[in-house]
């Protein structure tokens, strides 16, 4: 057993885990943060995607001990004061989710996309960048629309702030 300590959604936490415990298992079972889902075990589907030190990682494919000392953000950590994140809001307004299982990973991936590439995203780029996330319900059409809408709104927010 090993003690891991990390910041999860802004809160300092620590826990005792078996060395082989995956980050996704640690978040779900040790921390009770069940919004992070496990859909494939082979880092293909992206349902388990979280941010570690500001970068997207697939939590089913890394050990909890590898995340020790880092700052992890999960889907539970992106709303501020009960207000949905712009990306969450855009998924709702564009019907970018159906069963909801891939949704946390999709949203975390989409936020990462904007963080990396900026807000000027076209459809081709969005589709290409989503290659690490699988959705079986929506056919991606409305997910692509949602990400574009969110990126546009985030651009406006940034412009207004300048």
């Amino acid at each position: 057993m090993t003690t891991v300590s990390m910041t999860v959604n802004g809160k300092q936490i620590s826990g005792e885990v078996e060395d082989r415990t995956l980050l996704s298992t640690f978040l779900r079972e040790n921390q009770g943060l069940t919004g992070t889902h496990v859909g494939c075990d082979t880092s293909q589907c992206g349902a388990c995607l979280v941010h570690m030190d500001g970068k997207a990682v697939k939590s089913c494919s890394m050990l909890a001990v590898q995340a020790s000392g880092s700052a992890v953000t999960t889907i539970e950590g992106i709303s501020q004061n009960g207000q949905l994140h712009i990306m969450q809001k855009a998924f709702k307004e564009n019907h970018g989710l159906q069963c909801g299982f891939c949704t946390p990973g999709m949203i975390m991936s989409a936020i990462d996309m904007v963080n990396r590439l900026g807000t000027d995203l076209d459809e081709k780029t969005i589709r290409h960048e989503l290659e690490g996330n699988i959705c079986r319900c929506t056919g991606y059409h409305n997910i692509v629309k949602a990400i574009k809408a969110a990126a546009d709104e985030m651009a406006e927010v940034l412009e207004a702030a300048e």
């Binding site: 079972e29 069940t34 075990d41 082979t42 998924f91 709702k92 909801g100 319900c137 409305n142």
Partner: protein, 787 residues
């Protein structure tokens, strides 16, 4: 219509919990003292088990128990059933082999469950399952259905000689043969429908708990129909009487048919929880899902279409061999028969149809309903034949379809179905306009100039939803009625709970069902909650599949609302001293027509519960239930057109344009309906271009992870252009037809018709992978060079 009523694009009420990580799926549930289950699974596709040694496994840390099939049978757990009886053409009942939740004698597919391990953690359970030593005596295997029918093929079940489950027929053979004898032209094709794995993103899971003091079981499970699960677990698997078994299907992460069935794992978890005295949770990993979730499709078909001198269809003859895998899953028998061959008339006036279907056992994962279930297979055969026949007789595919369309309703086909309403030309016209059909020649020339091949293909699908009239399906062999139930509970202050036997696993029922109530009573959807998925809350229901929740589930709600409205009007009339016939319900108020007298719905609800002043003899309360049994199937139909560009140097196909024009009858929420179509289209395009389930000759599944089975990803598919045309369904009170499966039904033939058009080749199998397309182009080039 209210702002949130029928036809409004209301944003979904259920979204917030999914967007914030607060969805509650089965694997999210925990219980005190919970143990984790893992399964010991067959590593061979066909083998006799000679021994199961659990000594090492039992010594491992955290392990509670390793239980096998001998113990399961000794405890009286029943064999897994198939709920739809099919009779062969000679009148004999289907030949069904015994299917145990845990097999201890002969395993028949890779991944079949042999033993269940329960331990303190999931890793411990999985480690212990690995340590169980099963010794096998290997037996010969057969994986393809045509091979399974050959003489000398390995035999799977003593009950099914020659691996034949049934040899079934529909239609008039003699009359159809005569049509062929007199035909001016006959088109013949061999058409395969590739095996698919449904792949909802949430893997199956079960959490079972036994309370010894009450002799009561609770099962959380990933089910599309928890009530059917309870019925079957109770009546056939002898787990517990219904009143001692609560089944809860909480948030479920997609189903597509694969979560209709009751699988070995749920049965084993329920059985094991009592044996080990602690709650037991099992969650499938993705490879287990590939190995054990019921697969879909897998048909070999030979089809012949007879035309007269005017290119009118005179006969259709179809022979299909359907691979049902190693065992018969819950509704497997109905898929290649009544859900398939009854749709072979397509949108066309075909006077003579005859179909013969042989269902066979092979050493592969059981096959059952997957999005569309039989109707995609029928549509693929019909629409590949239509496109090919049109080209053979030198007609434009659209015009050939046009002269053969059914134009008068009701229309009785030769294969049971009576189409009630439709306008097939309207959807064809809408689709052709939306894709700019007339501009295609120019676009094709542009592609050619760039060294590419452009093609266009269409598909005019029809399907049967709203399953189903109970008496009708009962007469065809179904073991259950296919009605739906609803209860509308008006609370004392006028808020409403609607209990439904339908189950939402992505379809958005919490929103659309509330819209129906809002439309009727003029109340905001915010004050209306939908309750589903729990056998303790909803008494009975048949669940969600076959695009039935709108046409059947909402019709039940509409019937219950009729009763609520009738009682509310009586109360309002009494309170306002008016005639009941003069009361109108509008905008959340009950008004006396032609006067300014009115009561709010809340005031009437409160009066029903205070019961201080009710009409003479009326019971207090405002709560009504209804069961709705449909009078006919519903017949969604439409036209899909796909335009592709093929790179002849690489065989890569890209979809340049895709138009779907659908007639779903009444639409409650266009936003949700569009989402259903998008998702269905991508599953159908996935089948046509990417997905394939591949076994090797020993029955090992080669495509058992997302690294091997090609799921459609965002950059594999385009955005879509959707059109709707509307003919209301006359068979139900809302005029709804259903929209959940159309996309997956209509799109595969449109894609393959487009690809074959582009490369100028008549026959090809799905998926149109770059390798296959490139090879066909090479072979064709060789052939042309030789000619």
């Amino acid at each position: 219509m209210t702002a949130e009523g029928i036809g409004a694009r209301v944003l979904r009420k259920e979204d917030k919990r999914f967007l914030t990580g607060n969805g509650r799926y089965t694997d999210d549930m925990t219980m005190p003292r919970m143990g984790y289950a893992a399964f010991v699974r067959s590593t061979h596709a066909h083998a006799r088990i000679t021994s199961i040694n659990t000594d090492e496994a039992m010594k491992m840390p955290g392990v509670d128990a390793v239980l096998n099939g001998h113990q399961l049978v000794a405890d009286g757990i029943g064999n897994i059933i198939c709920g739809w009886m099919i009779h062969s053409k000679d009148g004999s009942p289907m030949n069904m082999g015994a299917y145990r939740a845990l097999e201890s004698e002969i395993v028949r597919y890779v991944g079949q469950a042999i033993a269940i391990v329960v331990a303190d953690t999931q890793q411990q359970a999985r480690d212990a399952a690995e340590a169980v030593v099963v010794e096998y005596e290997e037996l010969p295997t057969v994986v393809d259905s045509l091979d399974a029918l050959k003489e000398g093929a390995p035999q799977l079940h003593p009950e099914a000689a020659g691996n034949l489950i049934y040899d079934w027929e529909i239609g008039e053979e003699a009359a159809t043969n005569e049509a062929f004898a007199n035909a001016a032209h006959v088109t013949t094709m061999d058409i395969d429908n590739n095996r698919l794995v449904p792949n909802p993103m949430e893997p199956r899971a079960a959490l079972a708990h036994f309370d010894p003091s009450e002799e009561h079981y609770t099962l959380y499970t990933t089910s599309q129909n928890p009530h059917v699960a309870r019925l079957v677990l109770s009546a056939f698997y002898n787990v517990a009487p219904e009143n001692k078994l609560r089944v809860i299907a909480p948030d479920v992460g997609g189903g597509f048919g694969s979560k209709i069935f009751i699988y070995p794992e749920e049965i084993a978890c329920l059985w094991a929880t009592k044996r080990v005295g602690r709650p037991v949770k099992w969650t499938s990993d993705r490879t287990e899902a590939f190995l054990t979730d019921a697969h879909g499709r897998d048909h070999h078909t030979t089809a012949e279409l007879a035309l007269d001198a005017n290119n009118k269809i005179t006969g259709f003859r179809v022979k299909t061999v359907a691979n049902l895998g190693a065992y018969m899953s819950l509704f497997s028998s109905s898929v290649p028969t009544y859900l398939y061959a009854t749709l072979l008339s397509g949108q066309y006036n075909i006077p003579n149809i005859y179909a013969n279907v042989k269902a066979v056992y092979t050493n592969t994962t059981p096959v059952d309903a997957y999005r569309g279930a039989g109707r995609p297979e029928a549509t693929y055969v019909v629409e590949r034949m239509m496109e090919t026949a049109a080209k053979e007789v030198g007609m434009a595919p659209a015009e050939f379809r046009r002269i053969n369309f059914v134009r008068e309703f009701p229309h009785q086909t030769p294969v049971i179905m009576a189409y009630d309403a439709g306008d097939y030309e309207a959807s064809l016209d809408a689709a052709m306009k939306a894709i700019d059909y007339d501009g295609f020649a120019q676009r094709r020339a542009q592609s050619e100039a760039a060294g590419k091949l452009r093609g266009m293909g269409m598909s005019c699908y029809i399907e049967a939803c709203g399953i189903a009239p109970s008496q009708a399906v009962g007469s065809l062999g179904a073991g259950v009625g296919l009605w739906e139930s609803a209860e509308v509970r008006v609370n004392a202050v006028g808020t409403i709970e609607v209990l439904t036997g339908s189950h939402s696993h992505g379809q958005g029922h919490e929103t659309t069902f509330a819209q129906l109530v809002s439309d009727r009573l003029g109340l905001p959807t915010e004050s209306i909650s939908i309750v589903h998925g729990d056998t303790d809350k909803v008494q009975m229901g048949m669940g969600t599949y076959g695009s039935r929740s709108g046409a059947v589930g909402m019709s039940a709600i509409a019937k219950a609302l009729d009763k609520v409205e009738a009682k509310a009007k009586k109360i309002a009339a009494h309170l306002m001293e008016a005639s009941e016939g003069d009361i109108e319900i509008e905008g959340g108020e009950l008004k006396v027509a032609g006067t300014d007298k009115k009561l709010t719905f809340t005031e009437v609800a409160l009066a029903a519960y205070t019961a201080h002043n009710l009409p003479e003899g009326m019971e207090p309360g405002l709560k009504e239930g209804a069961f709705y049994d449909p009078t006919n199937f519903t017949f969604p139909a439409g036209c899909y057109i796909c335009e592709v560009e093929v790179d002849p140097d690489t065989g890569v196909v890209s979809i340049e344009n895709f138009v779907a024009a659908d007639d779903f009858g009444t639409i409650i929420n266009p936003m949700i309906v569009e989402g259903q179509v998008h998702g269905g289209l991508v599953q159908g395009i996935g089948q046509a271009m990417l997905e394939n389930t591949q076994y090797d000759e020993d029955g090992q599944l080669l495509t058992a992870s997302y690294m091997d089975y090609t799921m459609p990803r965002a950059d594999d598919v385009p955005s879509f252009k959707l059109e709707t045309t509307v003919t209301e369904c006359p068979g139900n009170p809302l005029g709804m037809k259903g929209c959940g499966e159309a996309g997956a039904i209509g799109s595969p033939p449109a894609v393959i018709n487009a690809v074959t058009d582009a490369i100028g080749i008549r026959d090809m199998n799905m998926p149109a992978s770059p390798n296959r397309v490139w090879q066909l182009i090479q072979d064709n080039g060789m052939k042309q060079a030789a000619e």
